[in-house]
Point group: C2
Chain length 183, copies 2
């Protein structure tokens, strides 16, 4: 096996890890499985990520950055609130159709009490950012935080039920319903 550019290899490892983790959670990931999927040995994975928690932390942090960035600017003004919430909904729909698997934050959030501390902290940071974006997107209402919690949790739940019932329409109808409400 020829050496590869470090950043590419790291991304490859994180791609495969994210894949496995979104299917079965943190414990569904093993160094050997990841290594095999990437085409290297497990000791080489340890070279990049010494401990499993390093791997978990890196994959959720990368996911958070990508997801939040995909939402674009959450301009804090009253105009086009529905458009911005639809962007959020579309991001969830995209994440689902992407791989047919649940949002990474969703599955790791479910397992939070059993995760290593670095990882659970990173998961909570993801949700802090996501809720802050959503509250801002709602245009600075008084109860923006609570509305944001309702919207985000509804999308997450609908996404999870979509995977459980193997029916992506559950999520898309949820997005439709919330976007055509006045929040």
């Amino acid at each position: 096996m020829v050496s590869k550019n470090t950043q590419n290899r790291i991304d490859e490892i994180l791609d495969v890890t994210e894949d496995h983790m979104r299917k079965g959670g943190f414990d569904a990931v093993s160094f050997r499985d990841i290594a095999t999927a990437v085409g290297i040995k497990s000791s080489s994975v340890h070279y990049h990520f010494p401990h499993k928690s390093d791997l978990g932390k890196a994959v959720i942090e990368r996911y958070a950055e990508r997801f939040i960035k995909s939402l674009g600017q959450a301009d804090t003004n009253a105009k086009d609130v529905q458009g911005r919430i639809r962007r959020l909904g579309d991001a969830y729909i995209g994440a689902l159709s992407d791989k047919g698997t649940i949002c990474l934050g969703c599955i790791l959030g479910s397992e939070l009490p059993s995760l290593p501390e670095d990882v659970s902290t990173a998961v909570q940071t993801f949700f802090d950012q996501l809720l802050a974006w959503t509250a801002a997107a709602l245009g600075g209402r008084r109860d923006g935080t609570e509305r944001a919690q309702f919207i985000v949790s509804s999308f997450q739940g609908a996404m999870t039920l979509s995977v459980t019932m193997k029916d992506p329409k559950i999520l898309s109808r949820c997005v439709e319903r919330l976007c055509s409400s006045n929040f």
Copy 2:
């Protein structure tokens, strides 16, 4: 260790298993941990549940029966729809405050793609029953199934976010919001 009545022992095992599973999912459960918590040896757990999937299947089936039964009758008439949906919401609030952990269906639903087939089938059966109850509770509307999916998934998502953010109010406000809507 003195022998115990079989049914009691089985319930003890399922209690502990449910506990562990609600904290970290299917993979967070090990025969040794369960045995230790119950006060027996792992081989004795295997006597009651030969394979791990037997344990998983039994725990979700028991959970489903208890949860659905706690909802009471879902009389199919237009009266008191809000009262019935509030019963459903209260069941979720109860499940959360019960152990401070997520609903078992919720966490196993998230991991569905990686579960043994018996277990994933049992999880889907749980949701089939829950959605059927909710659709009936909505009083036989035309789009009852879709409304039921929205309500159940919103409760599930709010429960999960409550655990993730360590704020039970996220769920209780979600219940309040949906109960005071006209569905």
